[in-house]
């Protein structure tokens, strides 16, 4: 028996759709059996809420009088540098950007108290932020200096556009060295003193659709408390990842690029974060509905923490040195129990992503669909799958001091 998205949307509009979360579906399908559960359930909601570095927002601000050209200028929001290499009035603020005056890791470990993610959070809270631009002045854009307060309402467009979110699966981080290290996976105590992980596991979107059969370009999603869309495969999208028999990736795997109107979003679901000794970041909340079109789709959404494994990576050596060796694999059920066993040693675990918040998102999206406020979309085009042949390439450096490039072109620096 096959269902279509059109049929499911009709049921949503009539208020008749049966929607359950990716957590709830596990018990229902085990109790009622796959055939019956597939007939009964229309949509399974998945979610994740965690630090996602490749996030940020672009903005358009109305023209000053006289006009100023941001393109080629330097521009700051609350001292955090934004990218201005666009037209006269557009800018992009990345979540990991930090003020020029931040001491970084000069006093180790640096605190990284305020960055791009925090500016976005402040804007969402309705706060004024200070926009400072220094331009070079042209005949058509004569103004050279702009200093003004702006808030979210002042922008013509404010759009969250994240190029890599919702990683399908992720590493478990440990530290085998004899000193404490500070990483994007948090503080790692020496001698395998703790292990950190960052995935919603059984609730995570791409773990419930391992082969990208329903989540594709154009998929409507919950993004930061508002409505957003999948725009493309995320950067580092790697369908070629090692997979379990059921198709579930045993490593990072696929990723999503997502977009949505920042003005609809809330600081409850987009949160600036500081990682000691590492940098600034932003926690992003994402929820994705999976239409139960077939028994196959239902089976994918039945995935549970005990069946999903993640590689344990040493962040004191293997990760920084780009070595492929791992200390082993552990399941999310083990990780969530609070401890795992590595090299015959009990290691306490901690999560960087919030499962509690992910559950809240899955239930929020479920409510939206039940109330008929959120309809499902047919992907405009699929995300690249295994058949695409996409392979994640490491960088093989070609020292730029040599002036002749591979294609024979000669690069000369203008002195």
């Amino acid at each position: 028996m096959l269902k279509t998205i059109v049929e499911i949307n009709e049921r949503i509009q009539k208020g008749e759709a049966v929607v359950v979360t990716a957590e709830e579906v596990i018990d229902i399908a085990e109790k009622n059996g796959i055939t019956r559960a597939t007939q009964e359930i229309d949509v399974v909601t998945t979610a994740t809420f965690g630090p996602m570095c490749s996030s940020g927002a672009y903005f358009n601000i109305g023209q000053a009088k006289p006009r100023i050209k941001f393109g080629g200028s330097t521009i700051y929001l609350n001292d955090v540098p934004a990218y201005a290499g666009w037209a006269a009035a557009d800018l992009y603020l990345g979540a990991t950007a930090i003020p020029d005056h931040d001491p970084r890791n000069k006093v180790y470990p640096g605190e990284f108290i305020y960055g791009g993610g925090h500016v976005i959070e402040d804007l969402l809270e309705g706060k004024d932020v200070r926009l400072v631009a220094s331009a070079y002045g042209t005949d058509c854009y004569p103004k050279r200096k702009l200093e003004t307060w702006v808030n979210l309402d002042d922008f013509n467009q404010a759009v969250l556009f994240n190029v890599r979110n919702a990683s399908q699966n992720y590493n478990v981080a440990v530290n085998s060295s004899n000193r404490i290290i500070y990483t994007y996976m948090g503080m790692l105590k020496p001698n395998l003193g703790n292990a950190t992980y960052s995935s919603a596991g059984q609730l995570s979107p791409l773990l419930n659709d391992p082969y990208y059969k329903t989540i594709g370009i154009g998929t409507r999603i919950f993004l930061g408390g508002g409505i957003g869309y999948v725009t493309w495969q995320g950067t580092q999208h790697n369908p070629d990842v090692l997979r379990s028999e059921d198709g579930v990736p045993r490593g990072c795997g696929g990723t999503l690029a997502v977009i949505g109107d920042l003005k609809q979003m809330s600081s409850r679901w987009l949160r600036g974060t500081s990682f000691l000794g590492y940098g600034c970041n932003m926690m992003v909340g994402i929820g994705i509905p999976i239409p139960i079109l077939s028994e196959e789709m239902l089976r994918y959404t039945m995935v549970k923490d005990a069946d999903i494994v993640a590689p344990v990576v040493d962040y004191s050596d293997a990760y920084p040195q780009r070595k492929s060796d791992i200390l082993g694999e552990v399941s999310y059920a083990e990780l969530k129990s609070g401890k795992i066993v590595l090299r015959e040693k009990e290691v306490p675990t901690a999560s960087l992503s919030s499962y509690y918040k992910a559950v809240e998102i899955a239930h929020t999206l479920k409510r939206w669909i039940q109330k008929g406020e959120f309809l499902l979309t047919e992907p405009v085009a699929p995300l690249p799958g295994i058949e695409s042949g996409i392979i994640l390439k490491p960088l093989e450096e070609r020292p730029a001091g040599v002036s002749i490039a591979k294609n024979g072109s000669i690069y000369r620096r203008r002195e």
């Binding site: 609070g338 306490p348 999560s351 960087l352 992503s353 919030s354 918040k357």
Partner: protein
């Protein structure tokens, strides 16, 4: 006049092998009662203790501690959580040396047990959204 005060002492790493408390007891005639002690992952020491003695001995003892490089705070300084900022991710759970921050396995919420907290302040910088704050 005899007084009794509870204090939190932070020992930086380089003082960890110094007999500071021995000197405190021997030279300042203050009675001490250790309430809590722990060594943090940064190999710094945190000691919560009650000091009893004459005002001048107490003050002399505190001056000795401060001069030696020990950070001294009254215990009234405590750590609180900004409930709006906390995302219940659980990073703090592995950092807290006394189990005052615990992940509830059923709800996946992080519970903060203030009575267990020794105000070592380790969670403050470890918390990604900086939800933990010192209250004076």
């Amino acid at each position: 006049m005899a007084i009794s005060i509870k204090v939190v002492l932070h020992f930086p790493r380089h003082l960890m092998n110094q007999p500071i408390i021995y000197h405190l007891a021997r030279h300042y005639d203050v009675e001490f009662n250790i309430l809590k002690a722990s060594i943090t992952p940064q190999e710094e020491g945190v000691l919560v203790m009650e000091l009893k003695g004459e005002q001048k001995d107490y003050e002399g003892g505190i001056k000795y501690l401060t001069d030696s490089g020990v950070e001294v705070h009254p215990l009234s300084r405590n750590v609180a959580r900004d409930e709006d900022k906390c995302t219940h991710c659980g990073v703090c759970v592995a950092v807290c040396p006394v189990g005052a921050l615990i992940l509830d396995p059923a709800t996946r919420r992080v519970d903060f047990c203030e009575s267990k907290c020794i105000a070592c302040e380790l969670c403050i910088k470890a918390c990604p959204p900086r939800a933990m704050k010192v209250c004076l």
